[in-house]
Symmetry: D2
Subunit: 369 residues, 4 copies
């Protein structure tokens, strides 16, 4: 499957940082889902570099839907979105043909592709490709909204500074989706941005943790073995550049708890089964229990920094030193959150389609009844 | 794909806790891999309940390889291992047909399968099914050993007590693989076991964190998008009951670091490209870099406890109280580690087969050249 | 995927002709489908050797459902059926370790599995494995019956003798499903059987053509590219040993027609869209049009014959002569038809589940509304 | 998987007849395969309408490789080729929004996509999409050529007129690959074209049979169950519009033979195992035996004809008459053969990659040793 993700609803990514165009093919969505170009544009805008805490490479992201949409709605056949690369300065990268940037895929790409890889700007490994993922994700997000499902991600921690947690989940999600720097507590957000600016000034970079909540997912979605909701989501999330950890509910922090503290007691609430806590992140035995999904992703500090680093010239097989040039982000966490939402939406569309069929996921589908 | 995992090498699980038999079909392994029943038996033994810190249900795990092995070696066609259930006391569970155990899949199974699920002992969701996964994993582990790849997992934290980290990785792995309670520091291990016994006495349970190291994986394995090594491994690992988090290298702990601290500088070492630290867990851009793989799994405290808990009767749709009976583990972390090794081996066999082919993974395969 | 077939509903086969047991894992079926062991037994009986026109190896086919069925209904989790091999005479086959039977997989298995294959009785390539496929197929057939879908296959041609075509499709299908030698015209059937007996007496074998009709499949099932109904069905059908051709509707015979003759004109009939002819076999653009599915499979003459044949000793790399011993069928076409029905049912369950979801395929599913 | 085909090497198609652009994403090919735009152009030219026996819609097929090729060679990451639609006359098709062309997918698309489909010119079902398949296939063909594998397809029968069979297979294949109307006997070809012209004049269309030979495929490729070489090839071939039958070797014609006539005796020839006949089409038990692959595809007569036909208005649910307008082919068989070659190449790349890995399929791969 490789660069394709999903079974019933699936996405295929293509493109390189400095190539002609990047893009995504989204297949398996039901026909009739409204596609609003402005919503795609909005998501791309949220993913774009922002202020002084991002790279100087700003792309207009002039996307074009070249198939799969007719008269403003999905046709049910593959939807291809392409985004031409416009602001490309390839001269910056020629050095990287042989000198590996620590923390980057330069060396692993070289080993895997035997030197035939497009090394410019990270090639196919570039975060640039997430623009295509974001555009496709925007369509999946719209499909889920039609079923009452909402996704929201905030920067729960960045440079050691913590945001507040979700309180009123629906309201919080609504607010997050309009924000460029997605935090629930603006004061914490301001501190984080200041920390990013300081790191940038020092030629360094920061990482952080994203927390995502999803409301409205019906109970009963996911499989007991292998295609658990956790497994499918994590499979997708780990391909977002820089993500090195995924945890659901209390996750690692919950491992010191006793069972009596961790277990989420069930209660009836308005005729619905609910849990009093949500340490399991809305998932029991790999399957949704009707509570909000809750998970966190660890985003490592951006690997490209403007400091001298030890490395190797992998073509010559000898030690080397590197001071990267070019345009890079001192932090990507605020941009990554849009990509997390996209992958989440795609994974959920896939699992819902497994259970309810393409028909069920569609406008007249039976699962909202 | 559901209960099947893998693309080139794949495993399919079947069976229920109190059914006739559980089992696994392992397909796509090359022909000619030696299958030593005693090694399978050894892994099953490591997975079996242990002393006073485990359930009273002890199964002999009399496995039988019913296909795919001929004259002591894999034939290359599907290998099916079955393990009959022998020590079954189904009377214990009838209550659970309607009263959900908090933290368990009773309720989600009911919603997903509309009440047709085999609810006895957790049915298909039971940790019992991991015996089949362990047996199949033992074959995959042997296949990897033939290629010089070694996997070792230890309990890095349990009930708040920490084990020491890996020092001499090869030696540490070797030692771990013989241990029933896999820790590197026996003193820490004794404390952990004592903590488990205390929790058990209080009718409660504990969780912890497993850390896994894999040596000998060649550089260049994994895909840039979606089928990243992290994504594939996490996909498999999250189906192990109780695992709620997976992180690679420094993972969540590394998110407060600066890029200059997190990045793993490259250096030549004996003609080989190595990194001076391993915060990326041996993976850059989703692809192995030749360093040991390093990752951790969060194991939540065992959900079944012997204390009264709030819950619901989901058939009646009303609140209920539960004091579980039956036989359960106050901790599963020491048993789960065998399963983690198994899933890791299966995932690696799959990715290696993608890159080097069934042929390459075989005895005369080209990737060890 | 290899020995696994299907995406939403999938089957995995295992076992060898002279191994311990053969079996199948059927995954993805909805919960609550009644499983009648007598129906499985009936299908296995229809597949079993029959009278003087079949092999002397008669297996009792004592199948056992070891998972996935609880209180007489599917649980929704993997259903594993195993069938022990009982009547095994392995001495017959030792010669075949090095001398290839023409038309068989002895040589190709040797090349593929480097001599590690279980060569006894064809090993995993044996028609014996179709017993497991038949047992699993019986469950899929029952699932489809619950949705009003009926499958029937007859021997439309054997040893040059033709059966009559379908007239009243529902009645014809009903009749076929009770027959051991499935023809619509009993006189033609008697002639075919006589021809088989004559071939057998001469140490030779015959082939033929199977024709399958399926009624009740709703319009709109299948995908435009790659996962066309034809493509999915053919994918499965070609793994039935001996099948060398698959055609839909008029197939090869229709290629001399003009478009004006071939096209199936549409007409309204009782408020339903129907076609006046069915040269397209119920499929337009890879998708069902609501007419009965109609396709034919070419079954080559059984390769094992009792005549001296030129061959090679592939281990020595030299020419050899072969007079096979053992027990074999002078015809398999009458047995193969049960397997064709099984594969058809499995493929349709998969495609219906893609469209209507596991939920839609279930008892309360929405697609019969 | 839907609009994606393949496991290790896979293709995803997108686009509609009258949309912005059609295209294909080809993933899983090894890095370093030379990509000659002129060879892609050549294949597209062979697929393009030809003389008076084809549609008046002639597209320049100005393809663009937007990713996956760097410095003239594959990078190993997804290769996307797009082909803009230029010569579009959508006015011709508005009638088809409600009146089904017999033999076409208008009605089935409507049922499947609930009226949201792009109905213009057949939308995603259009033969136009095969241009993208052809372009991607050209790359796969080049990859196979690097391994000594050659594919050739001729029109073995058209409008009842027969071409001669393969004699010197390598020479014949070489010749075919340069021909616009691919026959081995030019006289037969001239007669076929005359028959097509006559049919065209009468407002009608013809069909035929394509025969494909592949040389150089090593023995041992394919799987015993489900992913047989026949099954995988047929899966792909049946998605080519108009193909209604696929048979290997003697296929349907061989079903009247006795086993003693059909079986292909093995013989040693220059140290290699060969068969004296090739009724099995180079495949035993689903796996290549080292002989040339040989198979035939039934191509139905082009459904669009210029005669009045009975049909329905599916939106109104009433009978209707249709005289299609627009531009169409009286025959597509000469164009379809390029697509058959493409699908064949893609399927073989996939199966070879399964066996030998991405590495084995690459330039320095081990399977040519």
């Amino acid at each position: 499957m490789k660069n394709t993700f999903g079974s019933s609803v699936q996405i295929t990514l293509f493109g390189e940082s400095h190539g002609k165009t990047i893009g995504a093919v989204l297949d398996g969505l039901p026909a009739g889902i409204p596609v609003f170009p402005e919503r795609i544009a909005k998501q791309l805008e949220l993913r774009r570099p922002y202020g002084k805490i991002s790279t100087g490479r700003v792309e207009a992201d002039r996307f074009e839907i070249v198939s799969g949409v007719f008269e403003g709605k999905t046709t049910g056949t593959p939807l291809c979105i392409i985004i031409p690369n416009e602001n490309v300065q390839s001269g910056d990268y020629t050095l990287l043909r042989s000198v590996a940037r620590p923390g980057h895929a330069d060396y692993t790409a070289y080993v895997k592709y035997h030197g035939f890889e497009d090394y410019r700007g990270g090639g196919h490994f570039s975060g640039r490709v997430t623009a295509a993922l974001t555009a496709a994700g925007a369509v999946a997000i719209a499909a889920l909204q039609g079923k009452g499902i909402r996704i929201g991600t905030h920067i729960t921690r960045c440079a050691g500074i913590c945001d507040r947690g979700f309180v009123d989940m629906k309201e919080d999600i609504g607010e997050l989706n309009g924000k460029v720097f997605a935090v629930l507590d603006e004061k914490a957000g301001a501190e984080m941005q200041e920390a990013i600016r300081i790191a940038a000034k020092e030629g360094d970079s920061v990482g952080g943790i994203l927390e995502t909540a999803v409301t409205g997912v019906p109970a009963g979605v996911g499989e007991p073995w292998f295609d658990t909701l956790e497994g499918i989501l994590a499979h997708g999330l780990f391909s977002i550049p820089g993500i090195k950890g995924v945890q659901f509910g209390a996750g690692f922090d919950g491992t010191d708890l006793r069972g009596s503290e961790f277990n989420d007691p069930f209660r009836m609430e308005g005729g619905q089964v609910r849990t009093l806590s949500n340490n399991n992140g809305g998932i029991n035995g790999g399957i949704t229990n009707g509570m909000p999904l809750l998970f966190r992703c660890a985003v490592k500090p951006t690997p490209t920094i403007f400091r001298e680093q030890k490395t190797v010239d992998f073509r010559k097989g000898e030690d080397a030193m590197l001071v990267p040039k070019g345009r890079h982000d001192p932090a990507i966490i605020h941009r990554a959150r849009v990509v997390v939402d996209s992958v989440t939406a795609l994974a959920l569309c896939d699992l819902l389609a497994q259970r309810y069929g393409t028909e069920g996921l569609g406008g007249t589908g039976c699962f909202t009844d």
